[in-house]
């Protein structure tokens, strides 16, 4: 099976090259046979990559340590689930995994586009085949998971214990699913540019793919935050590490695109901007991979100094150059034919939102690459860490939160003063009330105050929109509240799914602001000793050490400390925190000792206990109180749910016999108003 897998990978390389050449040739010459051959070549590539992937999985699951990749990433005493996930835990496997997803995505996209957009399909197919060619070639020549060892070791090195976590099993696939999906809109944008078919029709084809990318990136990012929080033991979930930033960048520009696409659909505006956003989102995915796998930027994550970095760099610059040429030579075709009636309108609000999203993306990118620039200019390395990113991005984030509430309140085309007054009254009141109440309750942290006031404002906006929609349905159809709510969302998934995403954003911001009140305490406890600590909400906690214990399970030695926990005199139970030393099948220690954090979660606050070390019979602990952290995960789930609603296919509306409103052209409306 392994040999078949390896052979399949090389056949896939040839087939994808074939697909690229014949698709472009077919598109240029208008030859249907070549176009069909190119398309079939893509399907065969997909089948070959699937076979190659099965080959690698087979090697992993049968512990074939003759392969360098298998010997380097698993050991025979590892749980099966992590043997399976080892497929994407290393450089070579992740490259093959990337190719696997891309080939499946590409086949689906070309298969479905073949009927809807025959003119674009060969060019999109050729572009996707080129991207796929790059990934398969990189896998074959620079990071081949089928590379064999000169000898067969008795056992493998095993997987880093930090990666042996359920979050890490599903976080990378989600990120890859998100990253790779950006290639589909990119391919169709390139196809639209080449064929000069730059009306809104190509956007219809890519919108769902952009949503898929956004959806998986959102899940991937939040899962990554969860993994960092429960596994790394530093009591936080986001450190502005270059790898984290790399996933955040395409998410930001992808989010901007999902907003600006609506303006082109409804008003025919932003043709250039939408093309640019689609292209930039894809290029940022590649650029992020380049900077984190080339070793030019230090990152806490893996892959530094890997040989694929230069290939990604070359591909990035080639793709950038090609798309710049295509856009530059088609500027006239991209000229918008629409007009804007007011700077206070929904479309203008979307543009302000785009400005802030792209502004945040720029500042994150700038901060990420600034150490390289500094080294070039001044010859000395510097660090651009969380203090920088927080300073620059917190104000922008709050501005974005404000715009999240403003956009839905403003009418399309032009908002009248009375419209604004009527729409803003409740949300503004909600924001002011929340801000005043928090000040009265003693909150003095400026950023947190603004965040909570804005969160209340946006919540007011969302609640008002739902209230109006539900009331309209109840009035027309006589439905109950629950039925009206469900049907309101079901009949207009884009709009109300979008509001649910906004609700998730509000919850996330509220949770982020909670970290302003985080408290840490370093504590040393012998068995039987106790420590009392007051948390940020004024509760008195008492921790009584149950002593340090050692044990041995599955593939690790465990050193643990148990704490009996009391809050305001009431017993809360035992909280345990561990240090684990993983070993191989010969019981030889592998990797550095890792920490298993003790976490007690509640809606208000997480109690987070890290066993920092053991000195004789004394446990050295860091006890943290992290307010509102659970709401980060809840906010992520709400966002994903909203994204799912927006993405869910909607059948054509059946309006026969029903009420149909048709907006009159501007001149007729003017005449009506004059009469």
């Amino acid at each position: 099976m392994i040999l078949i897998g390896e052979l399949s990978l090389w056949v896939a390389l040839l087939m994808t090259a074939w697909s690229a050449v014949t698709s472009f040739a077919g598109g240029t010459l208008g030859r249907e046979d070549l176009i069909t051959s190119g398309r079939r070549g893509l399907y065969v590539t997909c089948a070959m990559v699937v076979l190659a992937s099965i080959g690698l999985w087979d090697a992993l699951l049968t512990h074939d340590f003759s392969l360098s990749y298998v010997a380097s990433h698993i050991s025979s005493n590892m749980p099966k689930v992590y043997v399976f996930t080892a497929f994407w835990s290393g450089q070579a496997g992740s490259m093959l995994f990337w190719a696997l997803i891309l080939s499946i995505y590409s086949s689906i996209a070309i298969w479905s586009a073949n009927e809807k957009a025959r003119a674009l399909a060969p060019w999109a197919c050729g572009t996707l085949a080129c991207v796929l060619l790059f990934f398969i070639a990189t896998t074959c020549f620079k990071a081949n998971p089928f590379e064999r060892l000169s000898f067969v070791p008795a056992d493998g090195k095993g997987m880093n214990p930090q990666l042996q976590n359920p979050g890490m099993a599903i976080h990378p696939p989600n990120l890859y699913l998100g990253y790779v999906a950006t290639a589909i809109p990119f391919a169709f944008a390139v196809a639209a540019l080449i064929t000069r078919q730059l009306d809104a029709s190509w956007l219809m084809l890519v919108r769902r793919w952009a949503l898929i990318s956004w959806f998986f990136l959102t899940i991937g990012i939040v899962l990554g935050m969860w993994w960092a929080y429960v596994e790394l033991g530093w009591s936080g979930y986001w450190a502005w590490d270059p790898v984290e930033n790399s996933s955040f960048l395409p998410w930001l520009t992808g989010t901007a695109f999902l907003h600006s696409i609506m303006i082109q659909e409804k008003r025919g505006m932003l043709r250039k901007w939408n093309v640019v956003l689609v292209v930039v989102t894809f290029l940022l995915s590649i650029f992020g991979t380049f900077i984190t796998r080339s070793g030019i930027i230090e990152s806490v994550h893996s892959f530094a100094q890997s040989p694929v970095g230069s290939w990604f760099g070359a591909f990035f610059f080639l793709a950038t150059g090609t798309t710049i040429y295509l856009v530059a030579t088609r500027l006239n075709d991209l000229e918008a034919r629409a007009t804007l009636e007011s700077m206070v309108s929904r479309e203008a609000a979307f543009l302000y939102n785009n400005l802030v999203l792209v502004g945040i993306a720029f500042s994150v990118l700038w901060g990420t690459i600034f150490p390289i620039l500094s080294e070039w200019v001044r010859g000395s390395k510097i660090t651009v860490g969380p203090p920088f990113f927080n300073t620059v991005n917190i104000p922008l984030g709050l501005l974005l939160l404000a715009l999240t509430g403003v956009g839905p309140l403003i009418a399309w085309r032009k908002a009248s003063t009375s419209n604004l007054r009527r729409q803003f009254a409740v949300p503004v009141f909600a924001g002011l009330f929340a801000g005043s109440a928090l000040i009265a309750l003693g909150m003095r942290n400026g950023h947190a105050l603004v965040a909570y006031a804005l969160a209340a404002f946006v919540t007011g906006t969302i609640a008002q929109e739902f209230y109006k929609g539900i009331n309209a349905r109840r009035s027309i159809h006589g439905e109950g509240v629950v039925t009206a709510t469900i049907r309101l969302i079901a009949r207009n998934r884009r709009r109300y799914g979008g509001y649910i995403v906004h609700a998730g954003i509000v919850v996330l911001f509220a949770a982020f602001a909670g970290l302003a009140f985080k408290k840490d305490h370093d504590v040393q406890l012998k068995a039987g000793e106790a420590k009392e600590i007051v948390d940020p909400l004024g509760h008195r906690w008492r921790f009584v050490s149950q002593g340090v214990s050692t044990s041995e399970t599955l593939n690790r030695f465990v050193t643990a400390v148990g704490l009996e926990v009391f809050r305001d005199g009431e017993r809360q139970g035992i909280l345990s925190s561990e240090k684990r030393q993983y070993y191989d099948s010969n019981k030889q220690p592998q990797f550095e000792p890792s920490t298993e954090v003790g976490i007690r979660t509640s809606a208000k606050m997480d109690l987070y206990v890290v066993l920092a070390g053991v000195n004789g019979d004394t446990a050295e602990l860091r006890i943290s109180f992290n307010p509102l952290v659970v709401w980060v995960w809840i906010g992520g789930v709400i966002m994903a749910l909203g994204g799912l609603i927006v993405m869910w296919p909607q059948a054509e509306r059946r309006r026969a016999g029903g009420y149909v409103a048709t907006l009159a052209p501007a001149r007729e409306l003017e005449a009506a108003a004059a009469s």
Binding site: H73, S150, W234, L340, Y352, S475, E670
Partner: protein
């Protein structure tokens, strides 16, 4: 040559190439280094001594909380990209951040202020000892360029919107807003619902 023949020959050539690659790989390959499996390459030797003579009659210069605040501004040099305060009790079993922490405690006991402690670390490790660039010289570009870019973007956007507005036929300003359309409550509700569907 027919296309099918060509594809077939390519496949055969590919198989031969793979077999050759496999034979070559078996001769020289060695197991991947541990770095492939680690999250990052930890440099346990990175700690340098940052010591200064205690100030005359020195007492502890700050509370533990303030000391932790200073540690948050100093970067651990093990390669983790975290600050000393966070790194010294993380999962990475780092020996560098505890050493830096000991130096900081010694400087605090020696009567040095937070800024003096940070300056001492910069003297020894260079500017990369800081978690964020100093607000001076070329570093100002780090702080101000995003703001300048967003400002320029805002100006460009306003210019773009104005140009778009100028193209608009003036009558557009007189379009009746939905609220000025007269009708019964039921009709208005239906209109609102229809507009919502259209959104």
């Amino acid at each position: 040559m027919q296309r099918r023949d060509f594809v077939g020959r390519l496949a055969a050539a590919s198989a031969a190439f793979v077999l050759a690659q496999t034979a070559g790989a078996q001769q020289g390959a060695a197991p991947a280094s541990g770095a492939n499996s680690n999250l990052f390459d930890m440099n346990q030797e990175a700690a340098k001594t940052v010591r200064r003579a205690p100030k005359p009659g020195a007492t502890k210069s700050m509370s533990d909380e303030d000391r932790d605040g200073a540690e948050r501004q100093i970067r651990c040099q093990c390669g983790c990209t975290l600050d000393v305060y966070i790194c010294r009790t993380t999962d990475f079993s780092c020996q560098v951040s505890p050493a830096m922490h000991r130096d900081i405690i010694s400087l605090v006991d020696g009567g040095y202020s937070a800024q003096e402690i940070i300056d001492s670390f910069v003297q020894v490790y260079g500017e990369r000892a800081l978690m964020a660039p100093k607000h001076e010289g070329f570093n100002l570009a780090a702080y101000w360029l995003p703001a300048a870019a967003i400002g320029a973007g805002a100006l460009a956007l306003v210019g773009f919107l104005r140009r778009m507005q100028e193209r608009t036929v003036p009558v557009a300003a007189n379009i009746a807003s939905p609220s000025s359309v007269s009708g019964t409550d039921d009709e208005m509700a239906r209109l609102q619902a229809a507009i919502r569907r259209d959104d």
